[in-house]
Symmetry: C2
Subunit: 387 residues, 2 copies
């Protein structure tokens, strides 16, 4: 099980500093949660993650079910032993894959739909590659095309075998164009599924219920109230919040107001640098996002902003740009990560241009370190009464 203690509350916002204690140690919140989809943070080892200041990881139930299978993970002694990470780990429930591998694949979109794409997609369209019933979701494995079924029972059974410290209830993450009626029905399923998850869980892993409801305020409130009333150890906030930070913030405020403040809240799959400060100010404790690792593998790094005129503390730069060829500077002069302590922008630019594998890890190390440090700084600002 877990325990959560709020050690400090901001007077300027809803931000809070806390200590989340799990069977694999304690972490300070707010904290970034590093994405280890297939039991590895892409390009890194667990030793690298420690060096990058990572506190907690989130692995993917659906992906690990498909490959290598939860029985394999269990036979290896559970996910901590399997990947040699002795800190806390979460697994999501697989519900998001209902969306991303269904609707997302059909329309080539993420959960936040830009207005332009929105107009192209038929209102009310539902995923074609997955079949959602009252019992759960029928998938096809992306590995071998085999039919797979995931429902609340299956999700919990799988997550118990994987053995993370914190697991999530199985939910339906609706598409950004699903209408109010569809969202209402999906929410009713998600609520029934939560009851079933609580009922079938035998392990002493912590269980988070997930608040859904799409972009509809009334449904979000209903979902938050319902989830708050269940025997859960914490809350996930899932689904879409519109494509602007302002919309997301207002929806988060609406939802978090309904949740008991003493339990931890995890925002699922959101954590771009531009959002982190706002999310923390609304009272989110943990959040995960692929941004640092995904961008690194495409040659992009985040650095402390040099410009004093910009209303921003960071910049994103493309190290594939030829202008860095002769640079003898580190990625970020103010960064203490392994990469910045050892290599120049020019050398890394060369390695990227030469299609080497080495720079993918070097850039991931920097970005993961940068994100964890960025959140640590915000945490310190709350402690100092500045945020």
């Amino acid at each position: 099980m877990i325990s959560f203690k709020i050690t400090q509350k901001s007077k300027k916002s809803n931000a809070r500093v806390g200590l989340l204690t799990t069977p694999h140690g304690s972490i300070e919140t707010p904290s970034f949660v590093n994405v280890a989809t297939q039991a590895t943070v892409k390009t890194l080892t667990s030793q690298d993650l420690e060096m990058c200041g990572a506190q907690m990881l989130i692995a993917n139930t659906y992906h690990l079910h498909v490959r290598p299978g939860e029985d394999t993970v269990k036979k290896h002694g559970g996910i901590h032993q399997f990947m040699k990470w002795q800190g806390p780990i979460m697994t999501d429930s697989g519900g998001f894959q209902v969306f991303s591998l269904g609707f997302g694949k059909d329309y080539g979109t993420g959960k936040i739909l830009k207005q332009k794409s929105y107009e192209k997609i038929k209102q009310g369209a539902q995923p074609k590659l997955v079949k959602i019933t009252e019992e759960g979701v029928e998938f096809r494995s992306y590995v071998d095309g085999k039919k797979l079924f995931l429902g609340p029972k299956e999700s919990i059974r799988i997550q118990e075998k994987i053995g993370a410290d914190i697991i999530f209830a199985f939910d339906e993450c609706t598409s950004p164009i699903a209408d109010h009626e569809y969202n209402q029905r999906a929410l009713e399923r998600t609520q029934r599924w939560l009851k079933e998850c609580i009922h079938v869980k035998k392990s002493d892993q912590a269980l988070y219920g997930i608040v859904q409801g799409g972009k509809y305020k009334d449904l979000r409130i209903a979902s938050a109230r319902y989830t708050a009333a269940q025997a859960v150890d914490g809350f996930g906030i899932g689904g879409e919040f519109g494509d602007s930070t302002a919309t997301m913030r207002s929806m988060l405020r609406t939802v978090l107001r309904e949740l008991p403040e003493e339990k931890p809240r995890h925002l699922l799959g959101i954590g771009h640098l531009k959002d982190i400060e706002d999310v923390i100010k609304e009272g989110v404790d943990t959040f995960d996002c692929i941004t640092p690792t995904h961008y690194a593998r495409h040659g992009y790094v985040f650095v402390n902003s040099k410009s004093q005129t910009l209303n921003s503390k960071w910049e994103k730069i493309d190290l594939g740009n030829k202008k860095y060829l002769l640079s003898k500077e580190p990625i970020d002069k103010h960064c203490d990560c392994f990469t910045c302590q050892n290599y120049t922008r020019g050398y890394i630019h060369h390695l990227l241009r030469a299609y080497e594998i080495t720079p993918l890890r070097l850039l991931t190390i920097h970005n993961v370190y940068f994100f964890n440090k960025y959140v640590e700084n915000l945490r310190n600002q709350i402690k100092k009464g500045k945020l």
Copy 2:
């Protein structure tokens, strides 16, 4: 400049133990030289190489000329500073690329031609993609198709800018099906080019002359005698030696007999585990090979042999094989490398199957460590009078 001191000679073979001292430190020979074609050993950092017991690296003149260009490397303070490797580095001359990017590309073959392929290829065929003249070789860049010219003058000029401790004279590496007449003409060019390399070199880098002559004993002897008589600091032995270890050994013996024993000998591009002991017994001091890194990226690792009946000290295993899924053993129980100290065969198998990037480095670390350790053990056996 370099100095070379033979500290022990075997009584059982022509093997010798030596100390090769360069401006970037000394290495014990015989030594494996790790291949850093584009100023990185694929998947690794320089810190990884140190951890893997690497003593010396060899980078590629042709590749670095094409990208990022020798002027860029020079502006970064030379190759040691560029890639942050403070140990000794060699650069080859680019001569091998005359072959591999010309004939090799035409026929899809390496320098050791199997009998089967041999029969398919017209006797006397020469490369189509490169044009060899008395002054040098005309290439097309594989990056942008631009015409490039590399001759002895150009090769030395480029290698001086790259700034390795040891550089090689520009030579022509003939194809495995080149006849005696062609090899004779090529050798005459290589000899003239060596003179020119010695003449134009202004730096105090050590220069190795390259013995060529294809599979023809008379030409190999002529080449060795000619090269031995020049003002070079050491010798490279290049080109093909037939496709059996026995043929290679006999040709090596023929060649090395003609070379002054006090100067170091480097065998270019040969160093599969099956050959290393033989090569060392013939009196080779250093040798380079892509085997450990190349195989690692394809999921293959080298391990100490468990079988006492096999007449071999090692085995190659394919970690992509499903039978390793549940293995909780390290790659090699007797190995002290980072990977074997931390991860299981089962976990690495999963990562390979999941197309992750992390295992490519983990396997490279093991293989590079294994090769360097393997050679260290042979060195110790010479010291103990056992080899």
